[in-house]
Amino acid sequence: MLRIEKRPEPAKSMVYLTPVLALFLTVASSTILFSVLGVSPIEALDNFFVEPVKDAYGVSELLVKATPLILCAIGLSVGFRANVWNIGAEGQLTMGAIFGGGVFIYLYDVDSVFLLPLMIVMGAVGGALWGAIPAFFKTKFNANEILTSLMLVYVALLLLSLLVHGPWRDPDGFNFPESRTFSQSATMPILWEGTRLHFGWILALLAALGAWLMLAKTLVGFQVKVIGAAPLAGSYAGFSQKKIIWFSLLLAGGLAGIAGVSEVSGPIGQILPSISPGYGFTAIIVAFLGRLHPVGIILAGILMALTYLGGETAQINLGLPIAVTGVFQGMVLFFLLACDVLVNYRFRFKSYGKAVS
């Protein structure tokens, strides 16, 4: 009889062993998948993991794609550690794009070095405001933040659609639902000439660094960890659970908002009816894949971005349909997260017959 039981202590060996195991399982099962489809497994894996980052431009694109994922996931991870289940980062990201991008819409003819900083700040404010709503309902009425934050995603997406189809349309754009294209002073500086790598990447790294310092060195970080691990012990120590709920949701909202404004004033360069292909939701996976640790999240965000780029490369070079690339991405994530169970749990073989004798 096979049983799964919790380890008294997280297994140190498994922390490093599980990614290797996951990689092995992915390679093994994808070999079967690609062989059945008549594609050389080596060529397929090369297209997924090597080809997209073969040149410098590919690497820059990888970081561009990872930027919003990391920003959102860092914020979410702090909440998840404190048992605050904010799954509405997509909406907070959208509100960040609306607030930050809105600054440009109304100040489009202003040419000032302060325009972009103002947009970034307003993006953070917009995201934080959207995070504040579930925080208010959670602390005031004990409303489940999973539901409220998720439902607010749809409100934000529709608000964006309303604005872009309406007052924010480009006046010279034949009534098409797109805003003006952002001016130079409203655009994220490019870090690497000739690529799309923009200042948002620096913001993502700063967010990771800040989150690490906060969790490791500050009282509020300690409170987040204690309340998450043992809520009763936290309240016995006089830590306010409500304060941590507010803190987590405002922080996650703010960072997601920065991700949103980074996208519209970075690689997109204008406000469109849809600005994120689900970064806010994917960031939930990134947060757990990174084991809720800032450094882990950076790596997880990059890995996640790589699977997207690899999916495109495999489609172009091998003619694989998107469904297959989706199955492969799912396999990578499944094995990584499933193997992670081994860090905290172990399998026990138990024979009932022996126990009786």
């Binding site: 007052p167 994120s276 070079n317």
Partner: protein, 361 residues
């Protein structure tokens, strides 16, 4: 020193790899397609992919076609388009309005590639635009819908309130009311091109509001399937969808990109390709009407065919006056007709469409 050697070796490897790749490319010209939906949508993207296969068939080994499906409008599309250009694709078809700015941006960086953008309006030296006059087909369908409705309510599942879609709604309404002045058209916006769940729900809501014909400007067969299961009429979008709704499909608007794609690739291979704007309709067969359902009475089919012929020979203009706007004011006077410029920016409903068109200003 050691590090430098390794770097040099790596550099040599990269250069060698690049030479290998370009050597292979010169034998065959690569033609790329960027799709907004999955090929299996049986609508918009499906028809573009049929066009891709026509290119493969026409040129055989001379070309190699590649595609990426379900590319999101936004930051992702520029990366995909750029990757195709950097890989040496000769012609790249970007088949959604939202790919317009990324296409133009990439085109400026890759002057050797030729770009074809569907449904947009921005052109540069190596970017052409093309679209089909779907509204001509919708005018024909409007004649049938106006005759076939018993409740005098036509339901219309709209994607985005952009001019292309508004044109279709207006053309349908004008044609329907020309044969049945009591017709009202109700529109449900779903804000997506492809989402079978949302599209189906919108169709259900419209039927619940009394619609007995469901028209759609979204890409999946879901609205038609709902029509089939609820026993009302529907009209296929982009391709003949009769296999999804054998009873309900009155007819379908078919997008036919085959000839255009083959012509443009040929021009690119011959070196005669130029940036231009193409807006083909029923006459060039870029828009086609699927076979009519046997349940449509002969006199109604005759009406539809008369409109079909009239549009092709120019005797019928769908947007010829008198046309009244939704609020009853005269928008186009008797004896006048809207020109292409007015059609391209259409942002108002004709009389007979219910609800308010989502817009600001």
């Amino acid at each position: 020193m050691k590090l430098k050697n390794i770097a040099g070796l790596l550099g040599a490897a990269v250069v060698a790899g690049g030479m290998l790749a370009s050597g292979a490319a010169s034998a065959q010209e690569k033609i790329g397609f960027v799709y907004v939906g999955p090929i299996g949508d049986h609508g918009w993207t499906y028809r573009h992919d049929i066009g891709r296969l026509a290119v493969e068939k026409a040129f055989g080994d001379k070309v190699k076609t590649t595609y990426v499906e379900s590319v999101k409008e936004g930051a992702d599309s520029e990366r995909v388009i750029r990757k195709m250009a950097a890989d040496g694709h000769k012609v790249i078809f970007t088949t959604s309005f939202g790919f317009m700015n990324p296409t133009v941006k990439v085109a400026k960086q890759f002057p050797k590639s030729m770009f074809e953008h569907a449904t947009g309006y921005k052109r540069v030296d190596n970017v052409s635009t093309y679209a089909a006059r779907f509204y001509e087909g919708r005018y024909v369908i409007g004649k049938i819908a106006g005759k076939m409705t018993k409740t005098n309510v036509i339901g219309y599942v709209g994607s985005f309130p952009i001019p292309e879609v508004v044109r279709g709604i207006n053309a349908t309404t004008l044609a329907a009311r020309s044969v049945n002045p009591d017709v009202q058209v109700k529109v449900a916006w779903v804000n997506t091109w492809y989402d079978p769940g949302k599209e189906g729900d919108a169709a259900k809501a419209l039927i619940d509001q009394g619609a007995d014909i469901i028209l759609q400007h979204t890409d999946s067969p879901a609205p038609l399937q709902v029509a089939e299961s609820r026993g009302v009429w529907g009209v296929g979008q982009a391709s003949d969808m009769s296999k999804f709704a054998a009873k309900a499909q009155l007819t379908a608007i078919i997008d036919n990109w085959d000839k255009y794609y083959v012509d443009r690739v040929k021009a690119a291979l011959d070196g005669t390709w130029k940036s231009e704007d193409t807006w083909g309709g029923l006459d060039s067969k870029m828009v086609e009407i699927a076979p009519y359902n046997d349940a449509i009475p002969a006199d109604v089919v005759a009406l539809a065919e008369e409109a079909h012929k009239g549009i092709i020979d120019g005797s019928i203009k769908p947007f010829a006056g008198p046309i009244k706007a939704q609020d009853g004011t005269v928008k186009v006077k008797e004896g006048e007709a809207l020109d292409d410029g007015a059609l391209l920016g259409m942002d108002w409903y004709v009389e007979g469409v219910q609800g308010k068109l989502p817009k600001g200003n």
